[in-house]
Symmetry: C2
Subunit: 389 residues, 2 copies
C-alpha cells in the first residue's frame, strides 16, 4: 500500500468524478460520484443515531431490498440532517438526478452527505452539478477521495491486490475524531472481486465492528456516518476468505488514517486489549480508552498516565481482574496487578512520536480487540469553537 496516491485507480469497471459545485463556501470540490458499469453486490452499515440523516435512512431502505447497486453520489459541505421532509425529498432528488443521467434505476444509486447539520442542500447547485458529473468520469481515485473531505487535512486511500488480480480500493473521510458525536465519517470500499452478497453481508458487521466502529466508538453515532462496500465482480470468482481478510485490512488502514487525521491531532493513539472475556468487551474497553479526554490529553503531553487507562477500562464495564491486569506504554510495563517501577522520563520521551500504543491485559479471558484515536490538543478546541458562525 505504498503506491503514490495520485496513481491509485479504482478497480476495473468503476469510474469516478468530482467537481466543485459551490456547496462549500471555500469553492473546493464538494460533489462526486462513483459509478460501476456492472451491477454491484453490496454491504452497508449506517449510524444508529435516532436522528439519522435522510441519506442513511434511504440507503438502509435500499439495502433491505437486496437489489444491486450501480452508483454512489456524495456531497460535502451540507449534511442534510435534521432537515425534515424537504431534506428527504432533496436527498431522493439527488439520487434520481444521477440515475437519470446514467440511465439506471433510482434505486440503484445510494447517497451520502456530510457537513453542517440543519441546513438544506442548495438543490440548484446540486442538480446542475450532478447533471454534468458523469462527463468527468475517470479511473483515478484521488479526486473522489478529496471531494468527500470536510475538515480532513488529507485524503484517505487504501488499496490491495488479491491473488487472482482482483483489487479492493477504499476511501474514507472524517476528522472530528474526539468523540462518537463527531463530524460525519464515511468509509467506502470498491472491488472488482466477485463475492456472494449474502456472504459479504453476513461478514460485514464484524469487520465494521473491528475497524470503522473501533474509531467511531459506541457504534455508528453521528447523524450521517456510514460505510459501504460495492463489489462488481469484473475480476471474476475470488476466494471469500482471502477477500474478507483483505477487506478488513483496507478498512483497518482507513480507520487508522481517520484517527491519525483527527481534528487537532498530533499523534495516533492505539489501544490493544487482550485477556478480555469477549471480543465485544475487549473492543469496548479499547474504545473507551481512545475516547477518554483525560487519556487523550495525557498522550498529547507525552505523559505515561496509565491510571487513566485503568479508569477508562473500568468505566467501559468490561470484566477485569485488577490484580491480574497488566498495562504497557510503548512496550514498557507500567502496571501488573499494581504499580511497577519504570523510567517515567524515558517512557515520556518514547511517547513523543507519531503513534502511542497502550497494551492492556484485562486478566480474565483470551479475547482481544484494538481501537484507535488521537491526542486532544488545544487546536481541537479552536477548530470546533467557531464552525458555523
Amino acid at each position: 500500500m505504498t503506491e503514490p496516491l495520485p496513481d491509485v485507480t479504482f478497480p476495473q469497471g468503476f469510474r469516478a468524478a468530482a467537481m466543485a459545485a459551490g456547496i462549500k463556501p471555500s469553492g473546493k470540490p464538494d460533489l462526486s460520484c462513483v459509478v460501476s458499469e456492472r451491477d454491484c453486490a453490496w454491504a452497508f452499515a449506517g449510524t444508529r443515531s435516532t436522528t439519522a440523516a435522510a441519506c442513511v435512512t434511504r440507503n438502509r431502505e435500499l439495502y433491505a431490498s437486496g437489489a444491486p447497486l450501480r452508483a454512489l453520489v456524495v456531497n460535502a459541505g451540507v449534511a442534510n440532517a435534521a432537515t425534515g421532509q424537504q431534506g428527504a425529498r432533496d436527498n431522493a432528488d439527488m439520487a434520481d438526478a444521477l440515475a437519470s443521467v446514467l440511465a439506471v434505476g433510482e434505486a440503484e444509486v445510494i447517497t451520502a452527505s456530510t457537513g453542517v447539520i440543519g441546513h438544506l442542500l442548495p438543490m440548484d447547485k446540486v442538480l446542475s452539478g450532478v447533471e454534468h458529473l458523469p462527463e468527468e468520469l475517470e479511473g483515478a481515485a484521488l479526486p473522489f477521495a478529496t471531494a468527500i473531505m470536510t475538515t480532513d487535512t488529507r485524503s484517505k486511500l487504501a488499496h490491495v491486490t488479491l491473488s487472482n488480480g482482483a483489487r479492493i480500493v477504499g476511501t474514507a473521510k472524517g476528522s472530528g475524531m474526539i468523540h462518537p458525536d463527531m463530524a460525519t465519517m464515511f468509509a467506502f470500499a470498491f472491488t472488482d472481486a466477485q463475492v456472494d452478497q449474502g456472504a459479504l453481508r453476513g461478514a460485514f458487521p464484524a469487520i465494521v465492528a473491528r475497524t470503522f466502529n473501533a474509531v467511531t466508538v459506541d457504534g455508528d453515532t453521528s447523524t450521517n456516518d456510514m460505510t459501504a462496500v460495492l463489489a462488481n465482480g469484473a475480476a471474476g470468482e475470488t476466494d471469500l476468505t482471502e477477500f474478507l481478510t483483505a477487506l478488513e485490512g483496507v478498512m483497518r488502514d482507513l480507520a487508522r488514517q481517520i484517527a491519525a487525521d483527527g481534528e487537532g491531532a498530533t499523534r495516533l493513539l492505539t489501544v490493544r486489549v487482550t485477556g478480555a472475556a469477549s471480543e465485544a468487551e475487549a473492543l469496548g474497553a479499547a474504545r473507551t480508552c481512545c475516547v477518554s479526554p483525560l487519556l487523550k490529553s495525557a498522550v498529547h503531553g507525552a505523559d505515561p498516565n496509565w491510571g487513566r487507562v485503568i479508569m477508562a477500562v473500568g468505566r467501559s464495564g468490561a470484566g477485569v481482574k485488577v490484580e491480574a491486569m497488566k498495562v504497557s506504554v510503548q512496550g514498557v510495563p507500567v502496571f501488573a496487578g499494581g504499580p511497577l517501577n519504570y523510567d517515567a522520563a524515558a517512557v515520556s520521551q518514547s511517547m513523543k512520536t507519531d503513534e502511542v500504543i497502550f497494551d492492556v491485559d484485562l486478566g480474565v479471558g483470551s479475547a482481544r480487540g484494538e481501537a484507535w484515536g488521537c491526542d486532544l490538543s488545544a487546536e481541537y478546541v479552536s477548530i470546533n469553537a467557531d464552525y458555523t458562525t
Copy 2:
C-alpha cells in the same frame, strides 16, 4: 443559600477537622474528617466502575450491612485506586485509625480518597495525621470542603434550613468535568433531620440520578466517585417529603457548582430536555449533550451550533420525532421540526455569559430531565496534558 461561605457550619451534632498531612506535594490541606456525636442513618452511591477503588468497595460493604455511621475520613492527593491488596489494607487502616481515636467501631467509619490513580497512600503521613485530626474538630464547614479538593479552583458548599429547624449542609469536589472518566467527584450531605434510613435509601438513587449523575454522565464512572448523606436525627422528626425535596435541592446546587468549576471551564452548560418518553431518556439525552466535545467547544466559542444538539440527542439513543423536535438556545427558538430563521449574531452575543442553556423538546412524550456540563477550552488540555510527570 447566599450566606457567606466562611460562616457555614455543619448541622448540630456534626463537627469536622482538616489538616495538611503532606499527601499533596503542594502542602495544602489534604486530610479531613466529619464526625457525628450520634449514630447516623445513611445512604450511599458509589461508582459502577469495574475498577472501583478500595474506599468505594469497603463503603459498599458497610452500606449493605445497614448499620449506622459515626464518621467519614477523606484524603486528597492520592486516590488509592489500582493499588491491589496493599491498597485495600491501607484503606481499612485509615478507617481503623480514626475509629480508634474516636473510640467508635471501625465499621462506623467510611472513607473517601481522591487524587492520582495507582499510587499507594503514604501511610506514615496518613496515620500520624489521623491520630491528630480529632484534636481540631469544629463546626465550620469550609475547612473540610477545602481539604477534599484536588484540581478544583473553589470549594463547593450548599445548605438549606427546613421548617422544623433541621438543616442540610452539602459539600462536594470534582473539577475534571469533561467526561465520565473524570477525576473523582464526591458529594456529601450532612443533616440533623431525623429520617428513616429505609425511606432515605429508597429515595436516594432517583435523587442521585437527577443531580450527581447528571454531571457525571453514564452513571458513576470514575474509580472513586461517591456520594453519601448522613442523618444524625439531632433536630428531631422531620417531614420526609420536605426533607427529600430539600436534599435534592442541595445536591442539585452542588452538581451545578461542580459543572461550573470544570477544568478549564469558562461557562456552565445547562441542557433541559422535555417531551421525552421517560425520565431516563430525558436525562440520557441531556447528559449526552453536556458531554459532547463538539457542543462544549461551540459553547466555548459562543457558537449557537444547535446541529450538535440534534446529533448528541440522536447518539444518546433517546426516542425522538425529529419533525416534532424543538431546540432553543438562551431562550431563542432555533429549530422546530426544521431549521428556523434567527439572529445568529444576537444569540451568539447572549451566549457570552456564565451559563448557556439549551432547551430541547424531543416531541414524543412528557418526561423531562436536566443535566449540567461546561464548555471545553484549550485550558482543559493544558491542565490534563501533564498531570503526573
